[in-house]
């Protein structure tokens, strides 16, 4: 299914909510004069992963806070794990796990104490809470650090503990708000590996991210939001196709070869190329991926062009927004400010 475009946020139809871990219609949230969500529909089929992609202040966190019962929508309704978030908040809470944007593990408690406490607050019997804490500490390679205060953990460890804490209650639906923001690349790929395991176990996940590569790596479906509105949605492949696919990226040794290289790339991709004379690069979108790259490589080699670097790259969030809205993502932090002020 190809992504819909502007203004497709609210649907008058009310399809069956069965089979969805998250089902929301027409969510609106205002902070004073600022509208954080302007009518958002979301649906996450049970056992799948959906990523909400958007810049800072787009409304990602606001949406997650409503779905996790932390905040009430001004309009619209949402059903999570089979229960209405407004009328059955407690039933929802029994079935969800939530990791906020900043790690919320207690720094003055050890890793184990954090998990046991949250297990008990998930109403597990104490022995069961301890057993689950042990199992999760092992799963997340934290067993060596289990009895150290969380304040001594590295950023990556704290994130892992945070995620482990989210799983103590064996949630049916998992909410992850920017799970890898602020992590170094290694910690990031470690966390991705953990999330992969979860997904294969059949947990329904709604995550938010600012990174297209993260959304593509983890999610089945992507919802792009901007200024509180859904501006595109679709399965990963379809959405990416609509965004122009990958980019062939060529960097040259000698700037004099730019024209030749551009001709080769244009010939293969059949698309407009952008040339950066200063950086000696030629970039063009392609839907063919690796075969296109191989043909570009062959063409450049035939033309005798010396190549410094050649590869396939993901469009950045800025480029995605440029394609979708015709303007780059403005780092509008109105949402962040409203959250701060409240």
């Amino acid at each position: 299914m190809l992504p819909s475009t502007h203004g497709a946020a609210t649907s008058p139809t009310t399809p069956s909510e069965a089979g969805f871990g998250v089902f929301a219609r027409g969510l609106v949230k205002r902070f004073g004069a600022m509208t954080a969500l302007a009518g958002v529909d979301l649906e996450v089929p049970t056992g799948t992963v959906t990523a909400i992609l958007g810049p800072n202040g787009a409304g990602k966190t606001t949406a997650v806070r409503i779905l996790t019962t932390l905040s009430e929508a001004d309009e619209g309704r949402a059903v999570v794990a089979g229960f209405d978030v407004r009328s059955h908040a407690r039933e929802v809470r029994r079935r969800i796990g939530f990791t906020a944007q900043d790690a919320t593990v207690d720094p003055l408690l050890t890793g184990r104490e954090n998990l046991v406490m949250l297990g008990e607050l998930h109403q597990l019997p104490r022995a069961e809470a301890r057993a689950r804490a042990d199992a999760l500490l092992a799963d997340f390679s934290l067993d060596d650090a289990a009895d150290r205060l969380a304040s001594t953990y590295s950023g990556g460890m704290r994130r892992r503990l945070d995620l482990a804490a989210t799983l103590v209650g064996q949630p049916a639906v998992l909410f992850l708000d920017e799970p890898t923001t602020g992590l170094d690349p290694r910690a990031r790929s470690e966390l991705w590996a953990v999330l992969d395991t979860l997904v294969t176990r059949g947990t329904t996940v709604l995550l938010t991210t600012q990174y297209l590569d993260e959304a593509e790596r983890l999610a089945n479906d992507i919802v792009v939001i901007d200024h509180g509105r859904v501006i595109a949605r679709g399965d990963t492949r379809g959405l990416k196709r609509a965004l122009g696919g990958d980019q062939v990226h060529v960097a040259l040794v000698d700037g004099a070869d730019l024209e030749v290289a551009a001709r080769v790339v244009r010939g293969v991709t059949g698309r407009d190329v952008s040339i950066d004379a200063g950086a000696r690069t030629v970039v063009a979108p392609t839907l063919d991926g690796l075969p296109a790259l191989l043909r570009v490589a062959a063409g450049l080699s035939e033309a005798g062009v010396a190549v410094e670097d050649l590869g396939l790259r993901q469009p950045s969030l800025d480029e995605v927004f440029l394609t979708l809205t015709g303007k780059p993502a403005d780092g509008d932090s109105a949402e962040a400010q409203a959250q701060e002020a409240s």
Partner: protein
């Protein structure tokens, strides 16, 4: 709960029944107690500060202050220090609420299936236990400098019960302050510009009889005065003798203080709980 799922999910597995308000409150309180143990410096307002005040007033100012009706100043002082310290209970509660909100730890708790009110209950319970610490420490410190309980055992117990009840009332004041004031820094500011003067405009350290007209009236109706006086009476320590023209508050300090406790809890508890919930629902 008789809620029926609108659309059952496949992963609707082992869901344990709720273990109740008291269980959840105790789990949250245990976290607070661990915080106390791991951050002993945070306890200075409840430990070092009152002990310092005991020593300062006993040895630095004490010599210059006369107790009307005779008696030793150190015996007079302890009731006042006890009263001042439990008033400051409010500060600790307000600070911990504001900090929890600031670092968003609260969000995780609120996404958990815990009993309504248990989060606040846990904070209140921790604070009450935390209030017992300075009361114990100051009693010991007082004994060291020569303070003695000269009354009967039931009277002494009544004194400690009154003190602890006042601490309980101040917890609700703290919950209200901590919910209305946005930041930990703001809480500290209010504590020093509001709570501090209130504890000094009283018979805490000096008899109210030396104060000028209007201030004296304020001090005489200040519950900190009557709490201090009530403790002196219940512990059998020297106190300004009650005279014929004294206001009702001074003539009946125990009853007057008890009425304040009831009034503070009666007003601050419901208002504080509502303010707390409002401060979170953002």
């Amino acid at each position: 709960m008789t809620a029926t799922p609108i659309a059952p999910t496949s992963a609707d597995h082992e869901l344990y029944p709720s273990r109740g308000f008291l269980h959840d409150t105790w789990v949250i309180a245990r976290r607070g107690l661990l915080h106390m143990r791991r951050q002993p410096e945070q306890l200075s307002d409840a430990t070092i500060q009152p002990v310092m005040f005991v020593l300062l007033f006993a040895y630095v100012f004490g010599g210059a202050i006369d107790v009307p009706g005779g008696g030793e100043y150190r015996q007079f002082l302890m009731g006042g220090i006890f009263a001042q310290t439990v008033v400051f209970t409010a500060f600790g509660v307000a600070l911990s609420l504001a900090s929890d909100r600031k670092n968003r730890a609260i969000d995780r708790f609120r996404s958990l299936p815990i009993a309504r009110g248990a989060l606040l209950g846990g904070h209140a319970l921790t604070s009450l236990l935390k209030a017992l610490l300075p009361i114990t420490l100051m009693s010991l410190c007082g004994l060291l400098i020569g303070w003695r309980i000269e009354s009967s055992l039931p009277e002494a117990i009544a004194g400690y019960v009154l003190l602890t009840s006042f601490a309980f009332a101040m917890i609700w004041v703290g919950i209200l302050l901590g919910s209305v004031i946005a930041t930990p820094e703001g809480v500290t500011g209010i504590a020093f510009s509001l709570l501090f003067p209130i504890t000094f405009m009283a018979s805490t350290f000096v008899p109210t009889s030396t104060m000028p007209g209007p201030l004296r009236v304020a001090a005489e109706w200040n519950p900190v005065t009557t709490l201090a006086d009530a403790l002196r009476i219940l512990f059998g320590n020297p106190n300004t003798p009650i005279a014929v023209g004294d206001p009702w508050s001074i003539a009946h300090p125990i009853l007057y203080t008890a009425l304040w406790i009831v009034a503070i809890v009666g007003i601050c508890a419901p208002v504080g709980v509502r303010a707390y919930e409002k401060s979170l629902a953002k």
